[in-house]
């Protein structure tokens, strides 16, 4: 009798459901997964080593490119670590702006995740819906930083600049009639805050639309309920964080338990799953979008009432304004020193973590007192999630691998770094 051997299947690295560049070597018994071996690192750019060769501020832009769908949250982790070393706290207005943009980023991330997850399982419409709303949020990014994706907006000591008073407008063109443009510009007549407020007013109904398509959908439930179950104990042991951990029913959110910035002053709830399957993780993320919407609303209210500084004026760390530089020699020197050699930080090591849309995004920074980090270690949330893919997939069918993988919300920019 011939030896029976398991079939080995190569999944990716150029598979549309591999969420980027994942190569998955699947050992299969018929259509059942016996072992899954993810090969990562195809997008490894050595961000941490690059950061060791540059002054602190020049690496903020690299952080955007880690998890390239939740850009500002990455920056936030890095900036918090530097601020912890320097011992500075940004102005309260800057903290509110950061929290507001963190939550906008969370919605951005969850929208992309929702669209991609549904697309992977076979629902096309949600993807188009999700991108309709993402467009508005990316306009907020653009209005505040000039870039739609890689914003580089946070700085140690605050944010780069205050919220703009006007929104960019659409222009009529041969492809876009004046009537269409007027409709698109209707929400853009006031400031950025007005625009975001208009968004938050309508967004819960949009989430209802997604839910109408998916939550009680029989096919959706068949594909996600009881798929990739992780028990709460296992989730903790495997180093899960964020929605993956909460989907398994563990109450843990850094925004509540180890609050940073102004999260302790805001009112929001933490959704929890019960079974730890793909469906619960879906429900948790959908509810998180609603909660983020609530947080954004509260931030808008506060920001309207409290104008003020958004950057510290300690010019050893933050640059002086253009106007100051024109008339003050000291400011000119500060500016020159900051933009040539940067600032030096105290000797020491810190670990700063933020509740990133995907989980705990940690930045471990060792400094030897130089103008560059001595060692920067990024703790990406997706890395531990993907490491558990083998365990989550065993015994499931080939088609479930795609559902489990996308329910983990995998982005290779952060896993490979």
């Amino acid at each position: 009798m011939p030896d029976l051997r398991n079939y080995t299947l190569n999944f990716g690295p150029q598979h549309p459901a591999a969420h980027g560049v994942l190569r998955l070597v699947l050992e299969m018994d018929g259509e059942v997964i016996v072992r899954a071996d993810p090969h990562v690192g195809l997008l490894h750019r050595a961000t941490e080593k690059l950061a060791e060769t540059k002054p602190f501020n020049q690496s903020i832009g690299y952080m955007d490119r880690l998890d390239y769908v939740s850009m500002m949250c990455n920056e936030h982790g890095y900036v918090l670590a530097i601020e912890k070393l320097l011992g500075v706290t940004p102005p309260v207005r800057a903290q509110y702006i950061r929290v507001m943009f963190d939550e906008i980023t969370r919605i951005l991330n969850h929208l992309l995740w929702l669209g991609a997850h549904a697309l992977d399982i076979g629902a096309m419409t949600v993807f188009l819906y999700a991108f309709r709303e993402r467009e508005m949020l990316m306009d907020c990014y653009e209005a505040v930083s000039g870039a739609r994706l890689h914003a580089t907006y946070y700085r140690p000591g605050g944010v780069y600049r205050d919220l703009p008073d006007s929104m960019p407008q659409y222009q009529a063109s041969p492809w876009r009639s004046a009537a269409d443009v007027a409709k698109q510009n209707a929400d853009r007549q006031g400031s950025l805050l007005d625009f975001i407020e208009a968004f938050t007013d309508t967004f819960p109904q949009k989430v209802d639309e997604y839910e109408t398509l998916l939550t009680d959908n029989r096919i959706w439930k068949q594909r996600t309920v009881d798929i990739g179950i992780v028990s709460p104990e296992r989730a903790k042991a495997l180093g899960f964080s964020g929605p993956m951990l909460r989907g398994s029913g563990v109450l843990w959110d850094l925004r509540k338990h180890q609050p940073y910035e102004v999260y302790d002053k805001l009112d929001f709830d933490i959704p929890l799953g019960k079974n730890g399957d793909c469906y619960d993780r879906y429900l948790v993320r959908v509810e998180e979008m609603r909660q983020s919407n609530r947080i954004v609303k509260q931030c808008i209210d506060w920001l309207r009432k409290h104008p003020g500084e958004v950057m510290l004026s300690q010019h050893k760390i933050t640059p002086p304004t253009r106007a100051e530089m024109k008339g003050d020699m000291e400011s000119l020197i500060h500016h020159f020193k900051l933009f040539t050699e940067g600032y030096t930080v105290p000797v020491g090591q810190v670990y700063a973590a933020v509740e990133h849309p995907k989980g705990e995004f940690g930045v471990y920074l060792i400094s030897d007192g130089a103008n560059k980090p001595y060692r920067l270690k990024i703790r990406p949330p997706g890395f531990s999630h993907l490491a558990a893919l083998d365990e989550m997939c065993r015994g499931h069918m080939l088609a479930d691998v795609v559902a489990i993988l996308s329910s983990q919300d995998i982005v290779f920019g952060e896993i490979d770094r």
Binding site: V40, G41, H44, A46, E48, K49, L50, T53, K54, P55, Q58, K84, L85, G87, K236, A237, L238, G239, S241, V250, W252, H257, Q258, K316, T340, E341, G342, T344, P346, V347, G348, Q349, V350, Y351, A353, E360, G362, Y364, I366, D368, G369, A370, N371, K372, Y374, R375, K377, R379, F383, S384, L386, A387, D416, R417
Partner: protein
């Protein structure tokens, strides 16, 4: 923070011989490879600590620690690029001790506290693996092996993880050049992908400089108090 002082109290009670350090409100426990396993077990299982989650493991290479590439005290007539002291760096901090370190970041969800474990290492770069205590260590240890060449004893599957198949060297060591040793390209004549020696000339855009900065003069005392 009161939780930090409670953690320190318990650490001192359970491990009176170990070195405990507090800086920036964070607790660091310095261990040796021999003591790691038993202490990690206690930290994981004992209800006094309950560190259920290992959030991160990483390697550190202290080869260049405290070395400055720029004479910061006096003026120079050259620009940054020409005057950067790439080959004869100035030793400012004069650090003593082993070259490598492995750093673990633990988190207790029960008590809501964090702990950093630091293991300083010289050759042989061998540390017992903690995968059997915290399964999440698996990939993080593979990463530290890949990037720094630190070996984890009894690790179930110690393969490279982030670098290319067939990669030689450990790229995050400080003596590994930023641009690497080889570059990959597709050779049209031979019809395959070939590896060539890298032809990028190393350059320093902004030299690393350590200033004896008076702003942080009282830093050690401030950190001890927090």
């Amino acid at each position: 923070m009161s939780t930090v002082s409670l953690l320190i109290e318990r650490l001192q009670k359970h491990f009176p011989e170990q070195q405990i350090e507090i800086s920036f409100g964070e607790v660091t426990l310095t261990l040796t490879p021999q003591t790691l396993k038993s202490i990690a077990n206690t930290l994981h299982t004992h209800p006094d600590f309950a560190f259920e989650a290992l959030q991160d493991v990483c390697g550190v290479d202290y080869l260049d620690y405290g070395l400055s590439e720029w004479i910061a005290e006096k003026a120079t007539g050259k620009g940054f690029e020409r005057a950067a002291l790439r080959d004869k760096k100035i030793n400012i901090l004069e650090r003593q001790g082993p070259r490598f370190a492995v750093v673990y970041h633990l988190l207790s969800l029960t008590h809501n506290w964090r702990l950093r474990i630091m293991i300083l290492l010289d050759e042989p770069l061998m540390v017992p693996s903690v995968v059997d205590i915290w399964p999440s260590a698996n990939w993080f240890e593979r990463e530290a092996f890949d990037l720094f060449g630190i070996l984890f004893e009894d690790h179930p599957d110690l393969r490279r993880i982030l670098t290319d198949y067939g990669f030689i060297g450990h790229p995050f060591r400080k003596d590994f050049p930023l641009s690497g040793y080889v570059e990959v390209r597709y050779d049209a004549t031979s019809g395959k992908v070939v590896y060539d020696p890298v032809d990028i000339v190393p350059r320093t855009l902004v030299p690393k400089m350590i200033r004896r900065d008076q702003r942080y003069a009282d830093d050690d005392s401030a950190r001890g108090a927090s």
